[in-house]
Symmetry: C2
Subunit: 491 residues, 2 copies
Amino acid sequence: MVDSPEVPATALTIPSRPLRTLSNDQVESIHEASLRILEETGILVQSECGLDLLARAGAEVDRSTQWVRLPRELVLKAISLAPQRFTLYARNPARNVEIGGDQLVLAPVGGPVMVSDRDYGRRSGTYVDQVNFIKLAQQARVLDMPYRCVEAMDRHPNTRDLDYLYAAIRYSDKPLAVMSLNAQAARDCLAMAAIVFGGPEAMAGRSVILGGVNVDSPLRFSETTVEHLFAFAEAGQPISVTPFAMPGVMSPASLGGALAQQNAEALAGIVLVQLIRPGAPVVYGSFSTVADMRTTAPVFGTAEGMLMEIAAGQLAERYRLPRRGLGMVTTTHFVDAQAGWEKMNCLWTLAMSNTHLLIHAAGWLDSGMTASYEQFAIDLEMLASFERFLKGFDVDDVPLAVEDVAKSGPTGSYLLSERTLSAYREIARISPLVDSRSFDAWSAEGAPTLYNRANPLWKKWLVEYEDPGLDPAIDDALRAYMASRGVPPAE
Amino acid sequence: MVDSPEVPATALTIPSRPLRTLSNDQVESIHEASLRILEETGILVQSECGLDLLARAGAEVDRSTQWVRLPRELVLKAISLAPQRFTLYARNPARNVEIGGDQLVLAPVGGPVMVSDRDYGRRSGTYVDQVNFIKLAQQARVLDMPYRCVEAMDRHPNTRDLDYLYAAIRYSDKPLAVMSLNAQAARDCLAMAAIVFGGPEAMAGRSVILGGVNVDSPLRFSETTVEHLFAFAEAGQPISVTPFAMPGVMSPASLGGALAQQNAEALAGIVLVQLIRPGAPVVYGSFSTVADMRTTAPVFGTAEGMLMEIAAGQLAERYRLPRRGLGMVTTTHFVDAQAGWEKMNCLWTLAMSNTHLLIHAAGWLDSGMTASYEQFAIDLEMLASFERFLKGFDVDDVPLAVEDVAKSGPTGSYLLSERTLSAYREIARISPLVDSRSFDAWSAEGAPTLYNRANPLWKKWLVEYEDPGLDPAIDDALRAYMASRGVPPAE
């Protein structure tokens, strides 16, 4: 009713993160197992410059197989150089966020190639959809930054990264985060960020654009992955390293075993970053899921995935590294009860364990294959409600309430009391998605489910979008840079 | 996949309950405010024997208004006599549960007069529906006891309580819990329980049937409520006392103020029980909801309701009383994304705060007006998944996993490894409700939502129901008792 998610953002503040699933000894045994994996089995590094760097640092490099074994001293020393937290600066300083403190920084989904809404169903994503989601993320108070949301399948693959970043800069003044498809695009994104933030030197001193790589589990760092790490670390920009080690598929068939491998993979990526640029900001990522062995497809928001996520948070805490958690993810293909179930399971687990960054916090549907406008709106309302929850309440007004009770007496009424009439808007934030009418009244209006009710909400937010504006000189410079890279303007 | 909820029950074990929303000082200030409400404003007691009892105990009783002011010494002394925990015995000792320890005891919904399923839609509940739900609760591993679920609207109101209890005894060997419509029915239920548990004397020494009353907030104890308290306390049987103090409607217009009144109401009921029979088991109940002030209807699973529930748990902890929490409740009229969202919000909050008994843990829909078969199945799967989560995992197999990694090497495959093939059923419990196929495969089969997929699941469980049997002598005695009370057999 009040406090709707349209007003400016601040990250969720979570002073206490009580969830633990491993004892300290168990954390140590996962840590030891990860070191053994890196030392005895090692990683595959499909990059000559990556191999050179690791060899110079004292790793045991086999040039013919590209296998690299990492001595534990090398690993421990490198990861100790990574900062525990960093500020991600936005072009509007009021939008800066800290990653690694007591905030949970939220970004919407990235990755889907399909988009869906109630009006036109499920279809290929377009640049217009991408811009819509950027505007929605800009407008949403509970989201700290826009993210890729859906691929612009109507744009050329080689230029999509630049298209996205341009749109994110143009339509939002929140921090920038990219997922680039190739290393050249990553470098282009960094160059564009430099245009916004006063040039490469000015940019190197602070984090202004967050990159991300996935490790190709098990234990493979592709040429693209390593080049991304080089590009971001050399530019002094933060990057997250996120394995995807489903137990029994891409890692050993146990939660603890998968966790040991996942931890080894994240650490190896972080080692690479620290060897490239000691002290560069980096994010420890996890994306813990289990497979449905009937289909070998990943299943999201399960008990086992959540247990691994909590444990990953404990490991990141042990290394004093900022952590990215799984996201508000779900296996379901439709905005149904399973979406609410699995997403709330993720939100509670991740918010209450050691997590600092949550990508895929809005819009994710269909195992990450589809970005849904209705689910996006619902996720924002879930987050707004959770944010209200985290704020708690004070009891300063309790003595006044005791007087109210004395005045009303037993069986008294409060509905029309002076204090109720002045305070009722503050008692509770009722989501505009909630329909508290009777069943009959609801039926008479066509029995709209939450999915149906979410449809006008995201459209309302889109209509209410406020353009933060962009300095025309920066806009021109960005367009000129994109033109120089052969990217035709999208509009 | 494995570990489906059909096998025998044990309550969820939750050793750590980390959620707190009030400081100790704030808990004290709510406590103080509640004592002031009881001392200065007092309660309405619409029962002569209740007034007699309170007057004898030293309360300030106004016979003309039936207002009773409770001195704080009286309150504090009485509540200190209530036990911190008790065992609720079942006719099958393997089904006994403890209320007040580190278990969260779960029962399905109670109260709805409507029932719904996908096949026949929403309609009046019948005795057949009630029996179906008792059988499902008996069969469900995660439910600790059956509960009323839906009213048998095809039975006479005066006899419904006996009908329900007979069916619960006949079709389930789990503990008994009743919600009776009038005081005579409460006494009849206690008499029937005595038949099952060896007579009134044998029964008085242990808890075998759990009763419950609601306080008519604000601060009213009706004749029926007080008679219930007398009946259960005199029989030495446990009873829960649950206010329903929506802020700004039945209590002051602030969360803290509503909480102070709610706490005063629960304490007053517990005082009555302890005056009737010192040391009788009793449950501190809360049912914290806020109103949508546009309709004044209650809204369930909100941030504010959850904050009040956590605080209520802290108060019960302060008094060392077993606590009943709100339930897995939702405002939504249909099994949609809102149901998953609000129910998971409730489950996480209540399981992670000080809660020992959760009624309305399965089947609740439509603000408690409807019991849904499909929602019942979904709730059981949510609970089974949460139970799996609570079990955590061990890391003993991690050294073996490190060897697996060494054997597979970087980029190795685990899918067909010996250990995966032998262990994959144990890696994860994938709910039979989860559909991990591709969107296209799912669409080709008619795009079934979770609601649709839940329909065959509860039917399967009903088919698999195993009759625990009942001693024919007890059965005859129960039927004879019911006949003596003018209750015609239901079948």
